[in-house]
């Protein structure tokens, strides 16, 4: 089975990468008011119960994939 994890800078956290992307987009003529840059992590996992997998990934996010002080995360489990 597959899972995708989205890691984002928490609201209010300064995101200089997002600011640079936003200003570049504006220079290209795109009317973008804000851009925030996060990270996508695609995982291939052993087939297991989706709920158990989600709980496991929750722990993976807390322990490694995100820094809960500055980042939020979303877990999507496929199939």
């Amino acid at each position: 089975m597959k899972a995708t994890i989205l890691v984002r800078p928490k609201p209010g956290i300064l995101d200089p990468q997002g600011e640079a992307v936003q200003s570049s987009l504006r220079q290209l003529g795109f009317a973008v008011d804000e851009a925030r840059v996060g990270r996508v992590i695609d995982l291939e996992l052993e087939d297991k119960d989706a709920e158990a997998t989600r709980a496991e990934l929750e722990r993976a996010c807390e322990q490694l994939l995100a820094n809960p002080l500055i980042e939020s995360y979303e877990i999507a489990v496929e199939g």
Binding site: I13, L14, P16, Q17, A20, L64, L65, N67, L69, I70
Partner: protein, 232 residues
């Protein structure tokens, strides 16, 4: 003068560390006996203090310090710190200690998104720590920084706690990276773990432009010596 043997201080080496030897050299010049300790070691040798040096441990993958915190030696460092042992993290070492939860807060990419490499002036907020005892109150230090991710972050609640407990030891006179409250170095609540972005090991000889790093590393050597003497 006492004829006490030089205090041993561990300098950790991760794949990607690059200031380990500079740190060891500086400690040696200040009268310590540095011991380089590879990241895969499960135990620390008998030492009076531990230094986590600068560099790019594990390529800084994911987040700076995020992978290094799982190194076997970090468990030994955690036990050492729990027993009150002195731990100093410089630059990447500071990032590792934050990721490991041994220090509060987090380090984010510089607000400018640029790597900064220059001497900075630092205001010393505390001289009663094992890491700053050689300095005088109100003194400013000139020590170089060289980092891309040194923007210290703590949320409002944590920042208030740090200020209340006096855990902010160093502040930039002119904020080079967007750090909250211009914080350049903090300790844990107990005061035995200290992390800073500036590199004291690069400021121990007039040839390098400053010797103010001696005030930090020399204080650590003094404290490590004292700790080993009282333990003996």
């Amino acid at each position: 003068m006492s004829a006490a043997p030089p205090p041993r201080i561990a300098v950790l080496v991760f794949p990607g560390s690059n200031d380990d030897r500079d740190a060891a050299l500086a400690l040696e010049r200040l009268g310590a006996e540095p011991k380089l300790v590879w990241h895969a070691e499960p135990e620390l040798p008998d030492v009076g203090a531990v230094v986590l040096p600068g560099g790019f441990s594990y390529g800084d993958y994911l987040r700076c310090g995020a992978i290094a915190r799982f190194a076997p030696v970090l468990e030994a460092v955690r036990r050492f710190a729990d027993d009150g042992g002195l731990v100093l993290g410089i630059c990447n070492g500071f990032q590792v200690l934050c990721e490991a939860g041994l220090l509060p807060g987090a380090l984010r990419p510089n607000a400018s998104l640029e790597f900064v490499c220059s001497d900075v002036t630092l205001r010393l907020e505390r001289t009663d720590t094992p890491f700053t005892s050689r300095a005088n109150a109100g003194q400013t230090l000139t020590i170089p920084i060289k980092h891309g991710e040194g923007c210290y972050f703590a949320d409002d609640e944590l920042l208030e706690e740090l200020e209340r407990n006096g855990q902010v030891v160093l502040r930039y006179e002119r904020n080079p990276n967007g750090s909250i409250a211009a914080i350049a170095g903090v300790t844990n609540e107990r005061g035995n773990v200290f992390g800073l972005m500036p590199h004291p090991e690069h400021a121990v000889d007039p040839l390098l432009g400053s010797t103010d790093g001696v005030l930090v590393l020399g204080s650590l050597v003094d404290a490590a010596r004292e700790r080993l003497l009282t333990a003996a």
